[in-house]
């Protein structure tokens, strides 16, 4: 009696957990399938290599692809050095005093600030305050700020996972604090840092709200990119096509196609993160 009860409880909890996991997987699969079904028709090589034409009812999405890629690069250039340096300071150098605790709490809370607030902040600071205007640079800086708390937090976690004995072993060989950080800590933490960084950038690449007032525009003719010019970006392009375009029937397939490409870019970024992680684990079993 008792035994069969335990067995039942065991089977029940296992089934419940499995169901929850399946729901998540199903959600992703059905989302992808739906997008492919609606937008699959327009997907082709020329769709990603030609610029939008005839009021965005025809042509491809090269301009917003270029915009999103350069935007993400600027975001990375801004957020990675500052974020990693801040995380190294917090985990390796900062003593555990009140200032550090407040800084850390501020960073954690910053991660919870809605992205539209970052957009407004970027508008005030970069677009107007620093006079960058509505531009690629202003939007890149804004997304950089948005990514910072995630990059700092994941980098700090990656660094904390390194055993204290590893630091002490290097110090005991006569290494300075900085040599330990540069030669031992950072290389050991690369898988964690890279994963966190790429995931944050993938998230930033898909953001619409922060670039709404800081640089994205709904249409550009031609596909040149200037740091101080406005640009087209995939998520904003998608938003535009779905909600603001008058020829909704004509542009809907293009909108779904855009969604597929955006998803694909994010997927590729995630795969890169997984690969880096695997490669390092295989080589060093860290």
């Amino acid at each position: 009696m008792k035994k069969s009860q335990t067995q039942f409880a065991e089977a029940f909890s296992k089934g419940l957990l499995l169901a929850c996991a399946l729901v998540v997987a199903l959600l992703l699969i059905s989302l992808t399938a739906y997008l492919l079904l609606r937008g699959g028709k327009v997907l082709s090589w020329s769709f990603v290599t030609s610029i939008p034409s005839e009021g965005m009812t025809r042509g491809g999405i090269l301009t917003p692809i270029i915009g999103t890629v350069t935007l993400t690069l600027i975001t990375a250039l801004v957020s990675l050095p500052i974020g990693i340096a801040a995380a190294v300071y917090l985990s390796e150098y900062a003593s555990n005093n009140r200032l550090t605790q407040i800084t850390r709490a501020a960073i954690r809370n910053l991660a919870g600030v809605p992205s539209i607030i970052f957009g407004l902040f970027g508008l005030a600071l970069f677009v107007q305050g620093l006079g960058l205007g509505s531009s690629l640079l202003a939007a890149g800086f804004t997304l950089g700020l948005l990514s910072l708390p995630y990059i700092i937090t994941t980098t700090e976690e990656a660094i904390r996972a390194i055993p204290q004995l590893m630091r002490e072993s290097a110090l005991a060989l006569g290494a300075t604090r900085w040599e330990v950080t540069r030669d031992i800590i950072l290389p050991s933490a690369i898988p964690g840092i890279a994963t966190g960084a790429i995931l944050s950038l993938a998230r930033a690449a898909g953001e619409t709200a922060p670039i709404l007032f800081t640089g994205a525009t709904f249409y550009l003719s031609g596909n040149s990119v200037g740091l101080l010019d406005e640009f087209m970006a995939l998520p904003y392009h998608l938003y535009m096509l779905v909600t603001q375009h008058q020829a909704i029937e004509k542009v809907q397939p293009i909108a779904f196609g855009t969604a597929c490409v955006l998803l694909l870019i994010v997927l590729v970024l995630n795969l890169v993160a997984m690969r880096i992680r695997k490669k390092y684990i295989k080589n060093y079993q860290v």
Binding site: L165, S169, L173, G174, A175, T176, D183, P187, Q285
Partner: protein, 253 residues
Amino acid sequence: MTSTATSIAIDVQQWSLSFGQRHVLKEISMRIPVKKVTALIGPSGCGKSTLLRSFNRMHELNNEVTYQGSIKIDDKDIFQWEVTALRRQVGMIFQKPVPFPKSIYDNIAYGLKINGFPEKEIPQRIEEALTKSYLWNEVKDKLREPATRLSGGQQQRLCIARTIALQPEIVLMDEPCSALDPISTAKIEELIKELAQNYTIVLVTHNMQQAMRVADYTAFMYLGELIEMDTTEQIFHYPKQELTRNYVQGNFG
């Protein structure tokens, strides 16, 4: 101490150490002889590892720590040494082997590089260090492989190799066999005896048999105090203190 003729590697005078309000070491005075194995034994929490880590200033990462008294190495107070130079002179092996996430070769090359050994001497020094730590024959064909692929015992010998490659005078060992199986332990013990011909070794161990097997001198510590230090023979067979006798006979610990 019996052999006053031997010269002194580490001279500890009235050394006390506290972490905040907690007094961990109380007025310890001892002289650790050159090119001998000195074992520090005592029950958990007696301060033996804390004392060991004082010698190469490993407590400096902790900013709550305060000291009194003095420790001299080469007739120079350890706080007058530049810390990196002190740690090159006084190597350390830890409870668990922690190879760096680098190849076997680079694990040893790293210490040599940061300490400014000439680039062209490095391969030669690496071979010497691996030979001295009885690892050369096992790894000579896979020097470029990640060090983490070695077994636990091999990893510990690699850690010993990367320490002695810097030609220290003193090697501190903090329970170096606690994570190893009996066969690997036997090899490390063999190695410790061998190394004592060229280096001063201070060995923290919770294993009394190990102290008996490898140590020339043994110091017994209890609750942060040094109770007795003498030749290993004396400590285990003719201890002067009642407390030492009880401990080595296994009455507590």
